[in-house]
Symmetry: C2
Amino acid sequence: MAELTLTTFDWVPAAPRGFVRDFRVRWALEEAALPYRVASTSFDDRAPAHFAHQPFGQVPWLTDGSVSIFETGAILLHLGGLSERLMPNDPRGRTEATEWVFAALNSVEMASLPWGMSKFMGHPTDTAAWKFVDDFLKLRLKHLESVLGSREWLAGSFSVADILMADVLRVVDGFNGLTDSPACRAYVARATGRPAFAKAHADQLAHFAAADKARGA
Amino acid sequence: MAELTLTTFDWVPAAPRGFVRDFRVRWALEEAALPYRVASTSFDDRAPAHFAHQPFGQVPWLTDGSVSIFETGAILLHLGGLSERLMPNDPRGRTEATEWVFAALNSVEMASLPWGMSKFMGHPTDTAAWKFVDDFLKLRLKHLESVLGSREWLAGSFSVADILMADVLRVVDGFNGLTDSPACRAYVARATGRPAFAKAHADQLAHFAAADKARGA
């Protein structure tokens, strides 16, 4: 197997630590016990070489031998093809995991990202714009609550879809947005209680802590 | 090949016509010249059978024989596997198209959807919340402009990634959001000028017009 290299920023401010998107890839790599190394790209100075790998100047990207892949969803589908611990091997199981990968990102995070950013920025909540954002998320959570009330994981067994959905929902949970969604909360607890989550989370924090030390912060 | 059936709403209000998400699937099916039929589900009364196919009560879903798939992104990747007109057949080409499928939805539409909804709802534009949403989209368009300035289609040849990206961008263009992005505008014109776009668009409008007639509207 070709060497897998995950690239993330060399440093980020304190607030996003533990949530930088390389986390989702680290978690998957740890679940699958795939060997990988972590490389860094400058946060302060985003060079043309960075944009050649990630056209929006973000992280992460993954290289698998000579192939370079950006977008966390695409990276996780790629890793799903490398390990049955991340995605079932049969066509129907792969299809089911794939639709839930998109659902996590496009049906739930599409609603939770504007919601979470408004919370984080402290935007006023007495506006029509906020009500729209809040209602949008609540509607999605209502339907997701029905799904998660009757299954342990989204696509049969644990898969990359759960990595994405749980990572999306733990942000909502962090802003107390799951108080009316007990099945979603239990699901987040179940997913984030996995040893691979803890390892990936500790590794990301350690990566950025080492950068502080190198900067003399 | 098993029969492909695309399910959409039986009727929708006037505003979203031409933009209901079955459009992206129709466009792909027309590009690939795959035979398919269109089925309807009630817009007014979303029954348990609807949620069994689409857990968020939305449309579309696609059935391919006994397999039922929701989420437009997952449906388009599935169709990409059925036709080289929608996705290259080699692993590297498939990876490239897949990353751009996610980029269209997660890097661009994640920014354009809140922007477009605020425009559509007429939310005030003198707020910090609006500035955040507007700046977020502008940053993504700036980087996409660089990409589209030097290539005709996102992943080598025309693919499902272009169907998604062009459909995302035409909404922004409709609210005059591409005035500083000439390469993005030219790309939208190039994509929407394809015969399969016109056919899919006319078919969706005809589908809902027939529903008006049946309702005696």
